[in-house]
């Protein structure tokens, strides 16, 4: 602390410090090596089943479609990427984005109060509410979508109900409304769980502090609770928006495929139009756009936390 003369044993101490530092660095390296070894199976799995297929998709997107509809892995070109600018593609992308956005907003509005309630109740009620969220997962995804088909069909339970209470028959099946209902139903848990996690982590003393500083309940929510649970809102929105944007089964079964969405459109390219390079480029661009917007979203949200 004070600027006294160097004592003779100072150099010895420095040597010892350096030696200890080196020993620590060695230990750190050994620790890292061990960590890498443990993670190796996971890495191998990801490379084999994620990176390699992705690379194949990327490769195919530059390939040529022969006149017979097969794909020739030669004559590399950017044709399938130039096709992305066509109006029909733009329409499909726009329609999918709007539906995914509506789905996300509805999920957020429904999930926030539910998650808030679950996070602020006693342990028993909280567990019951969380189990209720997970129960649908115990049934096959396809079965659940077919169930909605039954519920929404003309003369189905929902239609007869609205008829009985004097609102007339409803024919929801094969409309965009049906698609949104199906998507909200399917992806709601992905919104509830991250929201629940961030509300559960919320420091309630901050809420008390805001009330003490003259904030009403509503002001306290807007100025403290919502900003502090924003990580959950962002994570939930991404988890709902991204799969909604590329959804295939639900729009097919409940939307009747009349107005194709991105997922169906890509499937069509691969199976019906037999244009693999175009399907591959669509998939790849969709993924790239999602990745970039996710990064941007996280960065912008991260600043406030």
């Amino acid at each position: 602390m004070s600027e006294t003369a160097v004592r003779p044993d100072d150099t010895a101490t420095a040597d010892l410090d350096a030696e200890l530092g080196r020993a620590e660095a060695r230990r750190d390296r050994a620790e890292r090596r061990r960590g890498l070894l443990i993670a190796l199976p996971a890495y191998a799995y990801m490379v084999l089943f994620f990176v390699v297929p992705l690379f194949i998709v990327l490769l195919y997107s530059f390939a040529t479609r022969t006149s017979t509809g097969s794909t020739s892995l030669s004559g590399w070109n950017l044709d399938s990427y130039t096709r992305l600018a066509e109006p029909i593609v733009r329409n499909v992308v726009f329609r999918s984005a709007v539906l995914a956005f509506i789905t996300t907003v509805i999920c957020l509005v429904v999930a926030y109060p539910y998650a808030y309630l679950a996070a602020t109740r006693s342990t028993t009620i909280r567990n019951l509410m969380l189990i209720a969220v997970m129960i649908p997962f115990w049934t096959n995804f396809l079965v659940r979508n077919y169930t909605w088909r039954l519920l929404l069909s003309n003369g189905g339970p929902i239609s007869s109900f609205t008829e009985r209470i004097g609102l007339g028959e409803t024919s929801l099946l094969f409309t965009q409304t049906a698609v949104v209902i199906g998507l909200v139903y399917s992806f709601l848990p992905f919104m509830i769980l991250p929201l629940y996690a961030s509300i559960d982590r919320l420091d309630w003393r901050l809420v008390e502090a805001s009330r003490d500083l003259y904030a009403s309940g509503v002001q306290s929510f807007r100025k403290v609770i919502l900003p502090l649970t924003m990580p959950g809102v962002i994570a939930g929105s991404i988890l709902v928006f991204v799969p909604s944007m590329g959804a295939y089964v639900t729009p097919e079964l409940l939307g009747g495929g009349k107005q194709p969405l991105l997922g169906s459109y890509i499937v069509t390219q691969f199976l019906t139009a037999r244009n693999w390079p175009f399907g591959a480029s669509l998939s790849f661009v969709l993924m790239a756009v999602m990745l970039v917007s996710t990064i941007v979203y996280f960065r912008s949200g991260g600043k406030n936390l």
Partner: protein, 362 residues
């Protein structure tokens, strides 16, 4: 006592708080005067924080009346009360700058932009945090967070400022500095401070008056000197400072017969502390007891003879454990020049002035 006085800053009448079968606060009566620095002191779980939270509106009393400057506030939510709180953990908003934290209350009460700017700057100056306005709480040290929390509360000019163990999270040196700072800040702004602490030294050094709580009940209210010199029962005497307790019986209002049969003179014992003939304890503060060789004790004073059993040097003082024939007494002797130091095994006499002791309920 019916002195002519304006309404108390905070008045509690039979205020209780129950959580199911648990009684956190049990029928507390308390008047806190305007402009005073009042400490609620007690061990953890004694109900002091619950009492503070009821004044702040963060808990609603189960029964009783709670008034702030004559206005009944029992069921009012916190945002409708003219009080602000400095929380134990500071509870600064992590997503806001220092400036926005301090300005939060004014913004919520819809003050104009220019007024907010002026008063926030003034409050930040008051706690000497100039130049840190744009920092986030995470970028501040504990002491700095503490200052921001103070500024955030004081900027609203509350009628009463509530402080919930605001110094508990600071290290010793900083805590001592902040004690003086808080005290002088309170004089400067002239606001009533109600302060919750479990640290008796903190309470003694800072407060005008102290209320000692235990198990939900308010045991004694008084100035630091009152509480220290004239504790009403063993709990208060034991909690505030260190003390020796000699068991005995009150023979008449100025005499206690100790367990070993010897009689000592005591200051007159008021009937509300103990009735004649009832068992009492004599509280003898270690630093009030004189120690010396067998021949040094003055004839007039009460004295007990013993043998030094152990001794510890504390720098500013020397502590002796003196073995009597029926108990051991702790004695603390100031480290003054020329003072003879006794060794283990020395035969010594202990004596004290009659007003050095207090008779308390067991």
């Amino acid at each position: 006592m019916t002195t002519e006085r304006a309404a108390a800053a905070v008045a509690l009448r039979g205020v209780s708080k129950h959580y199911g079968d648990v009684i956190a606060v049990d029928a507390v009566d308390l008047d806190i005067h305007d402009g005073e620095f009042f400490a609620l002191l007690g061990p953890s779980g004694c109900g002091k924080t619950t009492t503070l939270r009821m004044i702040g509106g963060l808990e609603i009393p189960s029964s009783g009346s709670l008034q702030i400057f004559g206005e009944e506030v029992g069921p009012l939510p916190p945002n409708k009360r003219p009080v602000n709180t400095v929380f134990q953990s500071y509870a600064l908003f992590p997503h806001m700058s220092v400036q926005d934290n301090v300005g939060f209350g004014l913004k919520m009460s819809k003050a104009s932009k220019s007024e907010i700017a002026d008063r926030v700057a003034q409050a930040i100056g008051l706690v000497r945090m100039n130049g840190m306005e744009q920092r986030r709480p995470a970028q501040l040290s504990g002491g700095q967070q503490q200052r921001v929390a103070l500024a955030r509360a004081l900027v609203n000019r509350p009628k009463v400022l509530l402080l919930d163990e605001p110094l508990a999270a600071l290290d010793l040196k900083l805590r001592q500095d902040m004690q003086f700072e808080l005290k002088s800040l309170q004089r400067e702004v002239g606001i009533t401070f109600v302060f919750v602490t479990h640290d008796q030294e903190e309470a003694l050094s800072m407060s005008d008056r102290i209320g000692v709580m235990d198990q939900g009940r308010l045991l004694q209210i008084g100035s630091p000197e009152d509480i220290y010199d004239r504790p009403i029962n063993r709990f208060v005497a034991d909690f505030i400072g260190r003390s020796n307790f000699l068991e005995g019986t009150l023979e008449d209002i100025t005499t206690v017969c100790l367990a070993n049969g010897s009689r000592i003179a005591v200051p007159p014992v008021p009937p509300d502390v103990a009735a004649t003939g009832s068992p009492v304890q004599v509280s003898l503060r270690p630093e009030r007891v004189m120690i010396g060789g067998r021949d040094e004790a003055p004839e007039s004073a009460a004295r007990i003879d013993g043998v030094v059993e152990a001794t510890t040097f504390l720098g500013s003082s020397q502590v002796y454990l003196v073995r009597l024939d029926w108990m051991t007494l702790e004695v603390r002797s100031g480290n003054r020049p020329g003072r003879h130091r006794h060794e283990v095994g020395d035969e010594v006499s202990l004596w004290w002035a009659p007003d050095a002791i207090a008779v308390v309920r067991p």
